[in-house]
């Protein structure tokens, strides 16, 4: 029997205008955790989709236990014992945990469901691997972490022996991540073989035995994780040396460019103050970071500032002018830049070409519009300029439909657009969410450069590393209130965590 349970040899998969996988080889040993590392758009998900039967490769063969197999659809993959936890879970929300697990594999007797046996099997599996779930809970009522455990149980219920995890930690809290890592190790110890797609180096270091690196659709190499450092891995992934720490000098803040005064937003449904009397100031040349655990009013605070939501009381001042009631367009054209939290919902018109998205707030300006007609030649010219200047990668330049671009490049496009509009205040909400090391480094550099350019930056972030790395001042938000103002040089991550959890507060001066 072959040493490898699955071998994907010389896989090539093309899409119009782009080669997603170019002659890639991946060999998975029995019982190992094998990481698949690469930046967004490197072809990791495509390769896994090929293995799972969602795409047919143009070239290459797949072997299981040394024998060539053809995987035409996910059913074939399932029959071969291959299971996948997708990045976005494939669960029926108004079904129970148990119903989701047996879905498509129901045991029946005379046409009637026999759930008892299924329940026994699920509970046994749950016990065996320490996957705590409540089989009768509805999916919509349980946490994301628990939903993920349901996905894992689904694979185990089908007796899969090759488990693919597609960026499983992207949606989890730190505690949930820890738990998942342990589960993965247990699974491997029980003889399951795991493919783990990620771009987070810490996680690879923690659980993976070996790691295959892809870059821009090409195979870079397979390494034994214990023998390399994180820096070496990130260099393989990005193709150059990467600074994992942001290199920035001290801030030289000048005059106040932006302030809010007693800003309050009341939730219409439960009448609670989701933003409670927030007063903050941002000066030119500093990065002020609003740190907090997700759901503590950050979204509403930003929307009340930018105009996507009306504040119930309080005021917003931009360059000394009261813009509380001003239109979004007015703020956009008077010095406010906004990298939104949700790039698909707010940041981009996904079905528009990239170039249109790059002029989304400026298409009406005389440079791009005359007499009511748009000057498309100018719009595409400007698009090409930004694509070049900010290194946005896309299949067909300015004509690429935004939807077809990788997440990292979509975010780069938004960052490019907002920075290039030359705002006085740039609000960046989780600007690096879901991005890879290369893109994070890039965006952090851009933000620091803007700060040094004399712009005020209001950063909202959930990532402690990001907060500690970038902020010149930290404002901690808890249940809609600013509970502390901290100096990142004088506070530890642990202490910051206590403020964010609401167990400590400090008068804000």
């Amino acid at each position: 029997m072959s040493e490898y349970i699955i071998e994907m040899c010389n896989i090539t998969k093309e899409f119009p205008g782009i080669i997603a996988n170019d002659d890639i080889t991946l060999q998975l040993k029995r019982g190992e955790i094998h990481a698949l590392l690469g930046e967004n758009g490197a072809g990791k998900s495509t390769l896994m989709s090929v293995l799972f039967g969602l795409y047919q490769p143009e070239k290459g063969v797949i072997r299981k236990n040394g024998e060539e197999v053809r995987i035409k659809d996910p059913n074939d993959a399932n029959a071969l014992g291959i299971g996948m936890v997708h990045q976005h879970f494939k669960l029926v929300h108004n079904f129970t945990v148990l119903q989701n697990i047996v879905l498509g594999m129901e045991t029946t007797q005379n046409g009637f469901l026999k759930m008892d046996e299924a329940q026994k099997k699920v509970m046994a599996l749950s016990e065996q691997y320490g996957l705590r779930v409540d089989p009768d809970a509805l999916i919509e009522d349980i946490t994301v972490g628990m939903q993920q455990r349901v996905e894992i149980l689904k694979m185990l219920y089908r007796d899969n022996e090759i488990l693919i995890f597609d960026e499983p930690t992207a949606v989890l809290t730190p505690q949930e991540i820890e738990e998942l890592m342990k589960i993965m190790k247990d699974l491997a110890a029980e003889g399951k073989s795991i493919l783990f797609i990620t771009h987070k180096l810490n996680e690879i270091k923690e659980v993976a035995d070996r790691c295959t690196v892809l870059r821009k659709g090409k195979y870079i190499g397979t390494i034994s994780v214990s023998g390399v450092t994180k820096e070496e891995m990130s260099e393989m992934m990005v193709g150059r040396k990467v600074e994992l720490k942001v290199d920035k000098g001290p801030a030289h803040p000048t005059d106040v460019v932006f302030e809010t005064e007693g800003l309050t937003v009341v939730n219409k449904e439960h009448g609670k103050k989701v933003v409670n009397n927030v007063s903050l100031k941002v000066r030119r040349g500093e990065i002020v970071c609003v740190a907090g655990i997700d759901g503590n009013g950050q979204t509403e605070l930003v929307q009340a500032i930018t105009g996507l939501m009306k504040p119930d009381s309080g005021s917003v001042k931009l360059k000394g002018e009261d813009v509380t009631r001003a239109s979004i367009r007015y703020k956009n054209t008077h010095g406010l830049g906004h990298i939104p939290e949700d790039r698909h919902k707010h940041g981009l018109v996904l079905d528009y070409p990239l170039a249109y998205n790059l002029v989304l707030q400026s298409y009406f300006e005389p440079a791009y519009c005359s007499g009511g007609f748009l000057r498309y030649d100018k719009i595409f010219q400007y698009g090409d300029k930004l694509i070049e200047k900010y290194d946005i990668r896309s299949g067909q330049g300015g004509r690429t439909i935004a939807r077809s671009m990788s997440g990292g490049n979509q975010q780069k496009a938004i960052v490019a657009r907002e920075i290039d509009r030359d705002p006085d205040l740039l609000i960046a909400v989780q600007p690096t969410r879901g991005l890879d090391v290369g893109a994070i480094e890039y965006i952090h550099h851009q933000l620091v450069a803007e700060r040094d350019n004399g712009k005020g930056i209001l950063l909202v972030s959930l990532e402690l590393d990001e907060v500690m790395n970038l902020a010149d001042r930290i404002l901690v938000i808890y249940e809609g209130e600013i509970v502390a103002e901290l100096d990142p040089r004088a506070v530890t991550v642990q202490e910051l965590g206590l403020y964010m959890a609401g167990s400590k507060r400090k008068a804000v001066g």
């Binding site: 367009r329 956009n332 939104p340 528009y352 007609f373």
Partner: protein, 378 residues
């Protein structure tokens, strides 16, 4: 990928080929149904519906005449669709437009000839716009689903038109509206001379040209102007449009007003044709409004394509009339045209199939070229 100048590599050609293929298959299925229903007359009947639209010059003219209103309602539905709205209210907008046009056509004889016709069309556009504006306002400011509002406006429109026709411009003998004055009728532009068969002229008139011009205008608005950019942005992603400072409310309202206006003009162009038809006082929603939906869908909401798909539907209507002369019941005629339209909706599917086929062809050739090269090297 290199194009090699092969026609199949061009998206436009692929789409056109796919549409033709889809229609051919639809016709084949239609033929089978005919064979089942009346084998003896199936072939001549099929021939009639397939070629009726071009059987003689009069029929060709009739195709243009029938096409005019459904191209307009198709444009109406397609325009709203681009802004993410489903204008199922074209029927009400159409009939109210028709009433306004005929009212001006009958009453405003004091206006000079050309001007009266223009005034009638304008009145139709405004009335249609008003009818579109109501669901638009409700959607934009109260977030009431436009489909519900549109359907209700259809019934209100139908009953209002009936009421007003009876009150102001009623032809009791025919139970329909009076004929507009000759000075308000659309010019024939020689169409009556061109599209004629044995001395019997068709009803074709300048209306079709107006529809074509408006189709092109809608295309220009959507593709070339700032307004079109904003409308489409709202349609694709309302949140992102709002984020970018585009007023989604204004654009939703505008889209419905425009859509209503287009459907209203459709009503004017049909009833100002001078063909002798008046607005019937019946409790039936105007079918032209609903026919605009498949026209727009087949044309994938592209205004230029809608001109063609509208003409295609009219062609089937005329072919169906020709088929009736072979004694087929109207129901069979309707089934056949519906089947053909039904299959035409598969055009997108065929387009993708052609693309796949072409891709495989290129791959094979490339592989062959590679082995050849390899052989030479050895």
């Amino acid at each position: 990928m290199k194009t090699n100048g092969n026609l199949l590599d061009r998206q436009g050609f692929r789409n056109a080929l796919a549409s033709v293929l889809a229609i051919l298959i639809g016709m084949l299925v239609g033929l089978i149904i005919l064979l089942i229903s009346n084998p003896a007359k199936a072939l001549p009947g099929f021939w009639a519906i397939a070629t009726g639209g071009v059987a003689n010059r009069k029929n060709m003219g009739q195709v243009l005449y029938y096409a005019t209103p459904i191209v307009m309602t198709g444009l109406s539905v397609g325009f709203a669709k681009k802004t993410g709205l489903f204008n199922i209210g074209a029927s009400g907008q159409y009939i109210m437009g028709a009433f306004a046009a005929v009212l001006v056509g009958v009453k405003c004889t004091f206006l000079p000839a050309g001007l009266q016709c223009l005034a009638a069309i304008l009145a139709a556009a405004l009335t249609g716009a008003l009818w579109g504006c109501v669901p638009g306002l409700l959607k934009a400011y109260c977030n009431i689903n436009e489909v519900i509002a549109c359907i209700m406006m259809n019934y209100i429109g139908m009953s209002t038109a009936n009421l007003l026709v009876r009150k102001f411009i009623f032809d009791r003998a025919k139970n329909q509206s009076l004929q507009p004055a000759a000075s308000a009728v659309l010019p024939k532009l020689g169409f009556d001379k061109l599209f004629v068969d044995g001395g019997a002229p068709s009803s074709a008139n300048a209306g079709f040209l107006v529809a074509v011009v408006l189709g092109v205008a809608v295309w220009v608005i959507l593709e070339k102007t700032r307004l079109g950019f904003e409308l489409k942005a709202c349609g694709y992603n309302r949140d992102a449009a709002k984020y970018a400072g585009i007023s989604d409310k204004k654009n939703i309202l505008l889209a419905m007003v425009f859509a209503g206006g287009l459907a209203g003009i459709g009503g004017a162009l049909y009833y100002l044709s001078g063909a002798g038809s008046g607005i019937p006082v019946l409790d039936v929603l105007a079918a032209e409004g609903f026919n605009g939906i498949p026209v727009a869908l087949l044309g994938m909401s592209n205004p230029i394509a809608i001109i063609f798909t509208g003409t295609f539907m009219a062609y089937l209507t005329q072919g169906g009339l020709s088929m009736q002369t072979f004694g087929f019941p109207t129901q069979i005629v309707d089934i056949i045209s519906s089947v053909i339209i039904y299959f035409a909706a598969f055009a997108l599917f065929f387009s993708q199939t052609i693309e796949k086929f072409r891709h495989r062809q290129v791959e094979k050739r490339r592989a062959a070229a590679q082995t050849e090269k390899g052989g030479e090297a050895q």
